[in-house]
C-alpha cells in the first residue's frame, strides 16, 4: 500500500505530538529525488507525548509491519513506554516511530538541529540537512551510500544557490 505521508504528518501535528521527521521523507523535503516507502519520525519520550502519540494513531489501527496477522500486539501507552523503536503499518501507510537514532540520539538531541516546516497550516519539525547526512553516515549502512551522496550533492547545490543570491548584494556594495 502507498503511504499518505502528508496525512500521517497532519494526524500527528493536529494531535500536538512532538516529533521530528527524519529519513527518506526528510530527504525529500530537502530536495531528494529518491523514492521512500515509509515515514520515519523521532518522537519525544515524555509520558505526555506518548499519550498524545498513542491517541493520535489509535484510529489508524497501527500494527507491526510485516508481522503475521493475529499477533497479540496492543497499541497502548504501556507498549510504547516499554519499547523504543516501532516499525508499523497504519491505515494511512507505513510509519517508523523511533525513540532514538544512531548518531543522532533522542528527540531532545535532534531538536536544535531541526527546522520548522509548515504543511497545510500544520507546523512540524524536520531534521536539518547536515544532521540528516550525519545520522545516515553514523548508521554506516552500505545501502545508504547513494542516498548520502545525493544529500551531500543537495548541500553543495544549495550552497551554490545561496552564493548566487548573495552576489548581486555584494556587487551593489
Amino acid at each position: 500500500m502507498e503511504t499518505n505521508f502528508r496525512g500521517l504528518i497532519q494526524t500527528l501535528g493536529e494531535a500536538s505530538v512532538e516529533f521530528i521527521v527524519v529519513g527518506g521523507v526528510a530527504g525529500t523535503g530537502h530536495g531528494s529525488a529518491r523514492l521512500t516507502k515509509d515515514l520515519d519520525v523521532v518522537y519525544r519520550r515524555t509520558p505526555e507525548n506518548i499519550i498524545s502519540l498513542v491517541n493520535a494513531l489509535d484510529p489508524l489501527r497501527p500494527y507491526l509491519r510485516g508481522a503475521p496477522p493475529g499477533l497479540p500486539f496492543i497499541w497502548s501507552n504501556e507498549t510504547i513506554r516499554k519499547g523504543l523503536n516501532f516499525t508499523l503499518v497504519t491505515s494511512l501507510g507505513a510509519i517508523d516511530l523511533l525513540g532514538e537514532i544512531t548518531g543522532g540520539g533522542r528527540f531532545e538531541d535532534l531538536k536544535p538541529h531541526s527546522l520548522t516546516i509548515n504543511l497545510h497550516g500544520i507546523d512540524c519539525l524536520c531534521l536539518g540537512l547536515e544532521w540528516l547526512i550525519r545520522v545516515k553516515r553514523a548508521a554506516g549502512r552500505p545501502k545508504d551510500f547513494e542516498a548520502i551522496a545525493e544529500l551531500e550533492a543537495i548541500l553543495e547545490e544549495k550552497a551554490k544557490l545561496e552564493s548566487q543570491r548573495a552576489k548581486p548584494n555584494s556587487a551593489s556594495q
Partner: protein, 77 residues
C-alpha cells in the same frame, strides 16, 4: 576517566563527526559522481509540500507499474 588509547581515539572521532563540519568521505565522494544534479536543481525550485506531493505520486506510479509488470509476467507476455 582513564580509558585505553584505542577507545579514546574512537571517542575523539565521534566528537569530531558531530561537532565540526562534515569531512569528505572518499567512499561517498565516489558515489557523488553519479548523482543526477539536474533532478536536484529541479527539486530545489519546488516547495516542501510540492516535493512531498511528487513523492506520493511517484510512490503511486511505482506501485501501479509494478502491478502492470506482474500482470504481464503472469499472462506470459
Amino acid at each position: 576517566m582513564l580509558v585505553p588509547v584505542g577507545q579514546n581515539q574512537f571517542i575523539m572521532r565521534i566528537m569530531f563527526e558531530t561537532e565540526t563540519e562534515l569531512e569528505p568521505d572518499p567512499v561517498i565522494e565516489a558515489y557523488k559522481k553519479d548523482v543526477d544534479r539536474t533532478l536536484i536543481r529541479e527539486n530545489l525550485k519546488l516547495t516542501i509540500d510540492e516535493r512531498l506531493r511528487n513523492l506520493e505520486a511517484l510512490q503511486q506510479f511505482a506501485q501501479e507499474f509494478r502491478a502492470a509488470v506482474r500482470r504481464a509476467t503472469e499472462s506470459g507476455n
